[in-house]
């Protein structure tokens, strides 16, 4: 009887699925019951009210108002912003490094090719945590003390306490410049659409690129000038022990951005290289045969096809970089893991609550990006006959 059920496909699948559900539920039940028992044993409950009590610790880098009397919730938000900050600049750096090294890997110039190869192999075969610690160590131990700071034009100072630069202080009128920029970008989009329609209708081309670039640069500059330069700079100055004032990038932030940028950049370089190589050479030859100029061939034929291959793994590298930024805790940069999952956890002892918040934040970032990726992949996938 049972043997017959097993031999038929439908009953067998049903049995397997029931077993899977039962196994999964009982595992969850086992963990849940244990958790309840354990919490009862040590006289604890699961309670998120601590989020609204003062945190009692300082965070050295905060873009929003924060001091030790702020709540744990605010500390969490500061952590999220810090993670976003390092991820943003890391992604920027990694993209620049990755595309440069990836194109250089394809160069016919022997030296350029080999240097890029060496860089890629060396940076991706060394753990990212090691890169972070190495960068941090070099900055903290090998750069000069603020007293002997390396300076560039007496505006930027390179010290073992970080990089100091003039800090722009925006006056309210600066919003006018921002508005001008927005208008310029909006106008550029409209002009692009108009030019495209016109070309499709009449075949006449308008110099879209240069018009738009000059409009986007010129309009904000004009507004800037008309409003009477509504920006002042606060310069860093050396006082007794350290620099004061100005914009400071902490060694932790610098080390983290640099290390994540270099490490992820190497992976992006390989993605870019294989993406360009994957576009068959026949495409280039066909374009040349049609009399299309080399730079148009690259822009109109090769890149659109290569990007289709490059973009999905590129986004997943960006996601990896964001997740790797959690290693910030090794150098003491105050990101999500270090604030709510580190100091808040140790102060309140609410491990379950704090870790669940950390996991939920990362999970929501990852899942929303992967949902976007699924949508994007569906959009760009070739419709095959």
């Amino acid at each position: 009887m049972l043997g017959n059920l097993w031999r038929e496909k439908k009953p067998r699948q049903l049995i397997i699925q029931i077993v899977a559900i039962v196994a999964a539920l009982s595992l969850l039940g086992f963990f849940g019951r244990n958790a309840l028992n354990n919490l009862e044993l040590i006289g604890r409950d699961v309670n998120y009210a601590f989020l609204f009590t003062p945190s009692n610790y300082d965070i050295n880098q905060h873009l929003i108002e924060y001091d030790s009397r702020s709540t744990h919730l605010r500390a969490t938000i500061v952590g999220v912003i810090n993670t976003a900050l390092v991820a943003f600049f890391g992604i920027l750096l990694a993209t620049v490094i990755g595309f440069t090294a990836g194109v250089a890997r394809l160069s016919s110039n022997f030296l350029v090719n080999r240097i890029s190869y060496g860089f890629v192999e060396f940076s991706r075969n060394v753990p990212v945590l090691l890169w972070i610690l190495l960068c941090h160590g070099v900055i903290v131990h090998n750069l000069p003390h603020p007293r002997q700071a390396l300076s560039a034009y007496d505006l930027f100072f390179l010290t073992n306490r970080g990089v100091y630069s003039p800090k722009p202080v925006f006056e309210p009128a600066f919003w006018g410049v921002v508005a001008a920029l927005a208008v310029a970008i909006g106008g550029a989009c409209c002009f692009y659409r108009f030019a495209k329609q016109r070309q499709e209708r009449t075949g006449q081309q308008v110099p879209v690129y240069w018009t738009n670039v000059s409009a986007i640069i010129a309009l904000p500059l004009l507004a800037f000038w008309l409003l009477g330069f509504p920006v002042e700079f606060e310069f860093p100055a050396f006082k007794r022990f350290n620099f004061e004032g100005g914009l400071v990038l902490s060694p932790e932030f610098l080390a983290l951005t640099l290390a994540l940028g270099v490490y992820t950049g190497a992976f992006i370089a390989e993605i870019v290289r294989s993406g360009i190589l994957a576009v068959s050479h026949g495409q280039t030859e066909a374009a040349y045969a049609l009399g299309i100029k080399p730079n148009f061939t690259m822009r109109l034929i090769i890149l659109p096809q290569a990007l289709r291959i490059i973009v999905p793994p590129l986004i997943s590298q960006y996601l990896n970089l964001t997740k790797n930024s959690s290693l910030a805790i090794a150098v003491g940069y105050m990101d999500i893991v270090a604030t709510i999952g580190g100091i808040s956890l140790n102060q309140t002892g609410r491990a379950l609550e704090c870790m669940s918040i950390v996991l939920a934040i990362y999970l929501s970032i990852s899942l929303s990006i992967s949902a976007f990726m699924n949508w994007y992949n569906k959009r760009i996938s070739l419709v095959e006959r």
Partner: protein, 372 residues
């Protein structure tokens, strides 16, 4: 065109122009082929000139290799790197705090790893069929050797494990166990049974959605909540389990790509031959899917090996942890660059070797057949 005219036969074959062959030809072709090329070459040479001499000086020519006791003595001898800090702790970097008189056990286990790997890695070994049993016995053997407590071997606590021993242990165990788990998960995700598929997707997406470091934190701080009261889990064991769970999810995604690339006709052909599910997967689908996913699988393995450094956040002493401990010693403070570069070299060698092997495997298994 091919018919030779009488004049041609009388002429000797001329050598190619001297500027097109040999060293000169190579330089012209590869370094100076166009104005842009010349500029790029000049820039590259400048970059190398700026980078290589200072680094070489720091690492070798100005470096201090003498066996000194304090970084101050180093500074008196030379301005470069102070390698004594590495030599002083070399044993720790290799074995951690494994008892000195028992280290032969580690050496033996490490050496036999390669003996066990040979029949797996190369298929031209004689008697491979019998030798293939070695990798199956090896894990049991390695466990007995390293932990001891059996066959009259003195037991060693896992908290004494450290250095590259720990890296190898976590890395190799992770690689060996996570591959079958990952394949099973990817089959689950590819399955036609909705429950199995959903459970696999949840697991994979959850693990891939959070950083490894947070999972390690969960293992070190939260696991006690979820176990029956009084259960004790070895920290090293917990870390290994987490690493396995983590990389299994990534492997599942990689293998899924391979499974998706198999044309539907292969499944249908297997059905037509009357193979059941297990056989069609084992004999038809997986061999092809795994071959396609070799680069991804090897990359995941390399990633796992590199991720073993994260165990320092839960207090295990891998080479990086040993290096940080050395920095805490007031005699060696500030020598972080030397220590980290040494550890980086160790990782670079093993990871680079793995990626080279992956290339070799890809070339060897390439049948020249591509479905495009």
């Amino acid at each position: 065109m091919t018919g030779s005219s009488p004049e041609q036969e009388n002429h000797q074959e001329l050598p190619p122009p001297r500027t097109q062959v040999g060293v000169v030809g190579w330089i012209r072709g590869n370094l100076l082929s166009s104005p842009t090329d010349i500029v790029l070459t000049a820039l590259s040479i400048y970059l190398l000139y700026e980078l290589i001499p200072p680094i070489a000086n720091w690492m070798f020519f100005d470096a201090v290799f003498a066996d000194v006791e304090h970084r101050r003595e180093c500074r008196e001898i030379g301005a470069g790197a102070c390698w004594a800090v590495v030599w002083k702790r070399f044993d720790q970097f290799m074995y951690g705090f494994y008892p000195e008189h028992l280290r032969w056990r580690v050496n033996l286990t490490f050496g036999l790893l390669f003996v066990a790997l040979i029949p797996l890695l190369y298929d031209r070994v004689k008697g491979r069929r019998y030798l293939l049993r070695l990798p199956l016995i090896y894990p049991v053997f390695a466990f007995c050797m390293l932990w001891g407590g059996w066959f009259g071997l003195a037991p060693v606590e896992s908290s004494k494990f450290g250095g590259f021993l720990l890296t190898m242990l976590i890395g190799v165990t992770g690689i060996v166990v996570s591959l079958p788990l990952g394949v099973a998960l990817s089959l689950g995700r590819h399955s036609s049974m909705p429950v199995v598929r959903t459970l696999s997707i949840w697991y994979i997406e959850f693990i891939r959605g959070v950083p490894l470091i947070t999972l390690l934190f969960v293992a070190s701080t939260l696991l006690n909540y979820f176990m029956p009261p009084g259960t004790y889990f070895d920290l090293l064991l917990r870390v290994i389990i987490i690493v396995i769970m983590f990389s299994a999810a990534y492997l599942a995604e990689v293998v899924r790509g391979g499974l998706a690339a198999i044309p539907q006709g292969q499944y249908e052909a297997a059905d037509a031959l009357g193979l059941n599910y297990a056989k069609s997967i084992r004999l038809i689908i997986l061999p092809q899917a795994l071959k396609i996913s070799i680069p991804g699988i090897m990359n995941t393995f390399i990633g796992l090996y590199k991720d073993t450094t994260l165990v320092i956040v839960v207090g295990l002493l891998d080479p990086l942890g040993i290096g940080r401990a050395a920095l805490a010693d007031s005699r060696w403070q500030g020598l972080s660059t030397e220590l980290y570069i040494f550890v980086a070299m160790g990782f670079f060698i093993s990871c680079f070797a793995m990626s080279r092997y992956s290339l070799y495997l890809e070339r060897k298994l390439d049948t020249g057949y591509k479905n495009d």
